[in-house]
């Protein structure tokens, strides 16, 4: 089909948004990159993103096979479909990279992130924080008379929501791991 080729804002007469059909849609993708755990491998991956102007929204890395010295890097990135394809191709040609999986397109996957939240407060606010933590199934991993540290695992959105609710209750420090992700099934 031929492109409509109508400029944005060119018409005010339609009930529909006259979106440019060629406009690129920015998507978020979760990539799993399996690499040799050798010196500098993370720098290579990060350097690729900064050097070519790609985004990193979240990054986790750890050795997952101690015997084979393999690490898994989970990256959440954003870009148009063409840019995402290019990112995968660029990652794939790094010499110590063995596999690149796009969990967003390779079927259903589970994504989890761990967060630690320090909340300072007294009396009512303290009770309210505990109550909300219970709803979110967050654990208390440290407690003083003035503060709690909550530990919570879940999707990034869930962690965002929890932090939002804790903010007025005295949230003063947050540590998050970034996303770890696996495809569902086998």
């Amino acid at each position: 089909m031929a492109a409509l080729n109508i400029q944005k804002g060119a018409s005010k007469h339609s009930a529909y948004d006259l979106r440019d059909p060629n406009a690129d849609i920015v998507e978020s993708h979760t990539l799993a990159v399996l690499v040799d755990n050798e010196a500098g491998v993370l720098a290579r991956v990060i350097g690729l993103f900064s050097g070519r102007g790609y985004n990193i929204d979240s990054l986790t890395v750890a050795e997952v096979d101690h015997h084979g010295h393999r690490s898994r890097i989970n990256i959440v990135t954003r870009g148009t479909p063409a840019v995402i394809e290019q990112i995968k191709a660029q990652l794939g040609r790094i010499v110590p990279v063995h596999e690149v999986h796009d969990l967003t397109v390779e079927g259903p996957s589970v994504e989890r992130e761990l967060g630690l939240f320090k909340v300072r407060g007294q009396s009512d606010k303290r009770v309210e924080a505990l109550r909300i933590a219970e709803i979110f199934r967050a654990n208390v991993v440290d407690s003083t008379l003035e503060s709690f540290v909550f530990e919570m695992t879940g999707t990034s959105e869930k962690l965002d929501a929890f932090a939002e609710l804790m903010r007025p209750l005295g949230l003063c420090e947050v540590a998050r791991t970034g996303i770890a992700a696996l495809s569902r099934g086998c």
Binding site: G40, A43, G47, G51, Q86, A89, R93
Partner: protein, 584 residues
Amino acid sequence: MSRSMTGARMVIEALRDQGVDTVFGYPGGAVLPIYDEIFQQNDIKHILVRHEQGAVHMAEGYARATGKPGVVLVTSGPGATNAVTGLTDALMDSIPLVVISGQVPTFLIGTDGFQEADTVGITRPCTKHNWLVKDTDDLSRTIHRAFHVATSGRPGPVLIDIPKDVQFATGEYLDPRQVDQSSYQPARKGDPASITQLVELIEKAERPVFYTGGGVINSGPGASQLLRELVDGTGFPITSTLMGLGAYPASGAGWIGMLGMHGLYEANMTMHDCDLMIAVGARFDDRITGRVADFSPGSVKAQIDIDPSSINKVIHIDLPILGDVGHVLEDLLKIWKSRGRKTNGEAVRKWWAQIEQWKARDCLRYRNSDSVIKPQYALERLNAMTRDRKPYIATEVGQHQMWAAQFMQFDDPNHWLTSGGLGTMGYGLPASIGAQVAHPDALCINIAGDASWLMNMQEMGTAIQFRAPVKQFILNNERLGMVRQWQQLLHGERYSQSWSESLPDFVKLAEAFGCKGRVVSDPAELDDAIREMLDYDGPFILDVLIERHENCFPMIPSGKPHNEMLLGEDSTEGAITGKGGALV
């Protein structure tokens, strides 16, 4: 049989096992143990350069002229940082290099020791891969792996950083057969179904074109042979990028010249109007595409490339074929022949008639002169007087480079050495020496501009010392010609810093280095001057004083599509406008 030896000895042993005959390098504190081993052997020739950048460009010239990886040896700190430009150049142009750098001893790393630099950190983005070797037992394996990585898949430069204590210590040497290379094996064969699809497109195409690049040359002479067979068999037109010149002969029936920003009118128009584009080892650089949105709007695009990241990077590809050019072309030919060698002959004949009309524009036409040497004329004469000797032609970067690409004619791969991707001024002189070292009896010419040539002129000393009779053909316009041309087109003729004040006397300079030079400004004397340069037994600098304000045409102004080329002086007014002005 296990063999125990020092790390320094291992370096020599590994280079020998890898078939290396020449190393370009410069000694220093952190590589002294390796230089001590070089002193004690005769298998590997060491070319002492005058600056490490020169060493890397020489190795590039050597690699391009032979197809073998170029090897460089430099010291730590400044030795390694001086190599960075050459490494970046080789990465952009996919040239296989193995660079070995010395490093401060492991116990000093991180202390800001004398001549310490984070070499693997600095060179990580400008190498295909690099290694810091901290244990002598890992050294031979790493060197063998480095050669494998540099030459497999899409070739490129690699670097091995070796601390001095690792060079002194003793470890176990492994020969290449003992090293497992299975973890890095880029696929070479293309998908047969996709290749068959391409054959079907070839059979039906009405306005086809082959668009070939440096990947054909990197794939080896066999790939060039297969390309010739395919092009001549189908009778399709073929154009090439700057990097791909020589893969298909300029004398071949299908040749329509180089394409791109300073490519030929007929080549760019053919690309713009084609209905089937077959990209072979070419990567759609911005110098090729012009305005991406208007790049060859009506064509089906097939691309053969060994690097998945080269496919769909800037231009959408309808039919990607991932694999080595040589292997894919072989299968392609086989399938095309088995299906009866069909093409749409009638339509292709009409297509050629159209191309002939474009050719008739004679886009390289220029106004010659009796009083001043035109650069185009100088290169026409050089081409005419040297072509039968199959010279190795190196260039620097700028107008002279584009004129050389337009006017020199190449009939063989690996004879054209130019900095395409990075555009490194100062590349040509050392590259010509590298080619000459590889082919001592061949004619090696560097076509240079006055400004570029000065950037690595110290390497004339290397040429003299190693009796490399390289011919330096300097098109001297006392300007940074390409910068000047852009200032004329884009910046209202305000020629900011683009002229060469206080140029040296190149003839005296040649004598000072210990070779011969000549200056020529009269077109009538040009042939005689070229003859003297060719006949002289040794390096020669020919200072050709040319028309100072000649512009390089044709030209696609940046930000413009292929069918909006400038063909001559009368069309330059306000040529680059709008967003195009922001492009380089």
